[in-house]
Amino acid sequence: MSDTRKINLLKELLLHEDRDDIALLQAKITELESIIERQEQLAARVNPIIDEKLEQYSADIPEKLGPTITKSLKNEIANSKDAVVDALYPIIGKMIKKYIQQEFKLLSDKINSQLQKSFSLKNWTRKFKSKVSGINEENFIIQELAKTEIQEIFIIEKNSGILKANFSKTNTIDKEVLSAMLTAIKSFVEDAFKTGNDSLESIEYGLYKIHIQNFNSYYFAVVVHGVFDSAYEAKLEYELLTFAEKNLAKGPQKNISIKLTEHFNNDNL
């Protein structure tokens, strides 16, 4: 027997059991490979379906879960009001605080400015009134600051929008163009709503209000700053009627602006 054959025989005898193990392992590997391959095949088929379903589900969430979420949130808020208030209070509180601080600062600046004008006649009158009445001088200043004041009065021809007379405490934009634009806005609103004989009676912007009072061929537009309550409105309407009765019986005349200034310059409403 040759050496090679002897070695092979020896190998056969020694590795017989290992060969069985290797064969078993190979079988298991083949099975695993098959499982993985099948899973990939399955995934290739199933994944698009799952993706589509997930997409559909995501799209349906607001509709399907929306009411449930809203209801749950409402219940949660109703059941834990204190917790919600606790959460929101610091945020809203800070905003309100900041706003009030800013407003107080403005008011304080205005009061200081009024007090600094210590040599004005108005100031001495206020001091005197404060002494006599026993009311704090600052209270009088606050009253003055909150006072309703006429800034401008326009008498405008109704049809053309041409300015006939004007009393103004400010030098703002061109008053003729403003009168024409006011008339255009007024015409637009009145035409848009087509409610018969109704007409635009006021326009508000910020702390200003434009009071509009109509007459036959012209109208008054009065720009007022401050608190414009119904009592003030009634007084203003009365004054405008009085002025019109006295001075506009024949329509707006040439010197009407002077009369308008004389009548309304003192804010004696």
């Binding site: 021809e157 109704k158 049809n159 053309s160 929008g161 041409i162 300015l163 061109d174 003729e176 163009v177 024409a180 634009m181 008339t183 255009a184 015409s187 637009f188 009145e190 035409d191």
Partner: protein, 163 residues
């Protein structure tokens, strides 16, 4: 002495009403077209003599091919109308006579000027094919771009208004 006069510009969309006003009031022209919505009002004070001034309040209305659709309140109290059409677009003067007739019927005492604008776009001379004819009255041909006849239009109108 200052007197105020209301002038209203009418006409189809894009005929150059706003450009005419801008050229007259601020001596500016822009080829960028911005459509006018509602109404825009501008003013120009014109000296007639040393002591006499006229304040022209010029109402630039949004374009429309049918003047019946215009808010009548915008037209009330007008001292003069300027009806503008675009010489390069026949559709803008196809109903010119009809609209002018309606205006004259509604506002018999109000002056009306008819303006054919954009003559800078015209190739060659005016002829019957490229401009309309009025039964009475004349057409002023202008260009807001070059300024042709813009000052003349308002000067003539102002003179007529103060007479």
């Amino acid at each position: 002495m200052i007197t105020s006069k209301k002038i209203v510009l009418l006409g189809h969309f894009g005929v150059g009403k706003t450009s005419i006003i801008r050229k007259f009031v601020t001596n500016e022209f822009s080829s960028d077209y911005k459509v006018t919505i509602g109404v825009h009002i501008l003013k120009k004070e014109v000296n007639i003599t040393e002591d006499e001034q006229v304040s022209l309040l010029i109402w630039d209305l949004e374009g429309t091919d049918n003047i019946d659709l215009i808010n009548k309140a915008y037209l009330m109290g007008t001292n003069a109308f300027i009806y503008v059409f675009d010489i390069s677009r026949p559709v803008t003067y196809s109903n010119l006579i009809e609209n002018i007739t309606k205006l004259k019927k509604m506002f018999s005492n109000t002056k009306i000027k008819v303006v054919g604008n954009k003559i800078d776009l015209l190739d060659g001379e005016l002829n019957h094919d490229n401009h309309p004819e009025l039964i009475d009255g004349e057409i002023i041909y202008s260009s807001a771009k070059t300024g042709t006849n813009i000052e003349e239009l308002f000067d003539e109108l102002t003179q007529e208004l103060i007479c």
